[in-house]
């Protein structure tokens, strides 16, 4: 394409976007990978349940596509100066059965998640909430046992939704009934066949111009566990939108004029992780040598088809996040420096170690061979040991490994990215990493309400972690969806969220 025509196209697109008026009506046919794992949002952690139901329910506060906190059912909120008391002012909202959303429903919902009898995997999210009460029909006050800034991101997690108390009390749980206050109301669910939603006319949300949301008349989810069937379904127009385009198919679909691919960075990290209690990985120089020797760019090119991951420029926090850093001493591969560090540590002739990985996920398995050949260049022999996820994960969590490839996903707050893996007594710190300064800073980050001051804290944490190198940060997995050209307004959320359906519309 010539430069002029590129320019013309860009202009045409810009004009098109500026003038495109959202259309009301139409049912979006969405092709999903799997069924929801149960319909009760409070007792599952499944992304599938979250993605299909997050538009039927509402949370107190929400993330937008840039992962900034915006009002949800709470129109506004404030914290006391000591950070212990949080007050939420509710908006005027209606559940799908016509009853109003009250402060009592909010109290009930948070208490239901906390209650051990509910068996919610996220009961720990609100462990710091000592008490929660409705001071009037529209006001909720939470009292915390300690200042805890990440509270808002837990409240925005779209499975921690507000449910109607009377419906839960009538049905016992929410596995067979979905009554939320979100833009779409639940119609029916036929397992492994379809899940149907329809527009809720009394939804409170409006777009930037004040038009009522949502635009779509409904969404019908169908399930395509096989990736070839899913890719074919969007190419043939049997569905309007599909999730989880496999990395290998991204370039194929990008070349297809009848399909548009949306996506990219997702909130997660994948890294090489040392058990720092085990020699020789108790020596920081050995860990730094690995960090210098491993070429994360070639991992993405060779193991992830160039599309499956985005380079980790700093640590666990992906680029674009307010708390991310993009300066790493290991940004450029330096084999010489790696050899020097190994020699200093007393391993001039290299050594052999067991590289324990899982065979279950390609993005945690395929990079191992690239890393193996990277390390061979500094005389280190990686002996790859592979096991099924169900055996692998408990073994790693019991710290019974030397070096592994692992990561975690779904975070939004820096606390989840950094405290969970690196705080000395965190349940997920299976790498035995202990550093007093990191602990101090991580606790300070939990207490600090001001974003700028908080950012300074987390920048220092990340610089210190890079220096001590308990992980070699490799990449952040990318996530892609694809849609037909007439699907407009669907925004990619980097936290695996499909709140983008709230503003999606179908062009004629």
């Amino acid at each position: 394409m010539t430069r002029t025509s590129t320019l013309a196209l860009t202009l045409a697109l810009a004009v098109g976007i500026a003038f495109a008026q959202p259309n009301y009506g139409g049912v979006l046919r969405a092709g999903m990978q799997t069924d929801p794992v149960g319909l009760d949002p409070h007792i599952t952690n499944a992304t599938a349940t979250r993605n299909m139901l997050e538009n039927t329910y509402d949370t107190l506060v929400m993330f937008n596509a840039s992962l900034e906190l915006v009002p949800g059912l709470a129109e506004s909120w404030s914290a006391s100066d000591d950070g212990l008391q949080w007050t939420f002012n509710l908006r005027d909202a209606t559940f799908h059965d016509g009853s109003p959303v009250t402060a009592d429903d909010v109290v009930f919902s948070i208490e239901r998640i906390k209650d051990p009898a509910t068996a919610s995997p996220r009961s720990g999210n609100f462990a710091v909430v000592e008490s929660i009460e409705a001071t009037d029909a529209r006001t909720v006050v939470m009292t915390l046992s300690e200042p805890f800034t990440p509270l808002l991101s837990f409240l925005a997690m779209s499975l921690n939704v507000i449910v109607p108390q009377h419906v839960v009390e009538e049905h016992g749980n929410l596995q067979n009934v979905v009554v939320g206050s979100g833009p779409f109301a639940f119609v029916e669910y036929l397992p492994q066949t379809r899940l149907v939603l329809e527009r809720f006319a009394d939804y409170w949300g409006v777009d930037a111009d004040g038009n009522a949301l949502p635009y779509l008349e409904g969404i019908t989810f169908t399930f395509y566990p096989d990736p070839t069937a899913r890719t074919t379904a969007i190419q043939t127009g049997n569905v309007d939108w599909v999730e989880y385009v496999p990395a290998a198919d991204v370039t194929i679909l990008q070349a297809d004029p009848s399909v548009e691919v949306v996506g990219g960075l997702s909130a997660n990290y994948r890294s090489l992780q040392f058990n720092v209690a085990e020699a020789p990985f108790d020596d920081v120089r050995v860990r730094q040598a690995f960090a210098y020797a491993i070429d994360a760019r070639s991992v993405i090119e060779l193991a992830l088809f160039g599309t499956g991951g985005v380079l980790a420029e700093g640590t666990t926090v992906p680029a674009g996040n307010f708390y991310a850093i993009d300066e790493s001493p290991y940004a450029e591969r330096d084999v010489e420096r790696a050899r020097e560090l190994l020699a200093e540590a007393g391993y001039a002739d290299g050594f052999t170690f067991d590289f324990y990985i899982t065979s279950t996920y390609d993005f945690l398995r395929d990079p191992a061979e690239v890393i193996q050949s990277n390390l061979a260049e500094i005389g280190v022999t990686a002996n790859i040991v592979m096991e099924d996820w169900t055996i692998y994960l408990p073994t790693v969590q019991a710290s019974d490994y030397q070096v592994t490839l692992l990561g975690s996903s779904g975070q939004t707050d820096p606390d989840a990215f950094l405290y969970t893996p690196f705080f000395s007594t965190s349940n997920n710190n299976y790498h035995n990493f202990v550093d007093e300064r990191v602990d101090e800073l991580l606790l300070a980050g939990r207490r600090e309400p001001d974003p700028d001051a908080r950012r300074e804290i987390y920048v220092e944490v990340q610089e210190r972690i890079l220096e001590l190198a308990p992980h070699v940060f490799l990449f952040h997995s990318a996530q892609y969806s694809a849609h037909r050209p007439n699907v407009e307004g669907f925004e990619h959320f980097p936290n695996t969220s499909y709140l983008g359906f709230r503003t999606t519309w179908l062009a004629n």
């Binding site: 149960g38 952690n45 069937a229 043939t236 169900t390």
Partner: protein, 316 residues
Amino acid sequence: MLVFLGRRIVLTVPSLLGVAVIVFLLMRFIPGDVVTGLVGDAQDISPERLAELRRMFGLDLPVHVQFGQWITAALQGDLGSSIRTGRSVALDLSLRFPVTLQLTTMSLLIALALAFPIGVMAARYRGRWPDYLGSAFVLIGLSIPNFFLGILLILLFSLQLGWLPPAGYVPFAESPVENLRRMVLPSLSLGLILAAATARIMRSTMLEVLGRDYVRTARAKGLTERTVTLRHALRNALIPVVTVVGLQFGSLLGGAVIIEQVFSLPGIGRYALEGINLRDYPMVQGAVLVIAAAFVLVNLLVDVIYALIDPRVRYG
């Protein structure tokens, strides 16, 4: 005949019980449990909390106590409910059974419709081009895995030609046409492979029968080759074919697990697979029990068909 049937039905009870015990134990031997799946990969959750969750699902009880509870309920027709979704297993299985039944029946019909003519023609024109063509079909059919054939069919009929949807399911009661449009490709994927296996048996037993004395007699009487083949030889050649088809029904159910996954059909196979992935014990136990019962029933049916096609077979 009735005595025979009664005895066979009584004998199915220990078979099904055996299947129930084995599945129950196997599910508990594979690593990981429903709590591991429930919590997912990313959570900051303490070992104490995990133990508490296991206790809530009754997973801390000794295996024989768990089995006792389950089998007692199952004998009363209560297959329990899914741990992950809370849905009744018996109800879900009753929704899924028709899908798998339709898939296997259509596959079987396709298989027989192809295998009979191919096998008979190959035997009748032994060593000539219909035989070679038949052998080529059998060889390809037996070597290609059904999921791979399924994907090839999707790429050809959906992506290239655009004739049929690639996957998905519409209940027959809702729209018979849309239902059939979605069931053709999966039934072909399963049926073509069964057709190959059946055609091979059909050809060899036809060859054997065509060499028998009574066939020579029939020919000597001056009957046309067509009458000899279809009226005299075919009926006797059917007995081993029925046996093979009966046994192949088991592999058809096994193949349905994979084909239902490839074509997104809400059948029993996919239900069982989902149960295994989630380590949702009641789902898997219920599904396998139903599949085993179907298999046992089909074999019973095969025995009855014997008696119908071969008057010499008498059960005492």
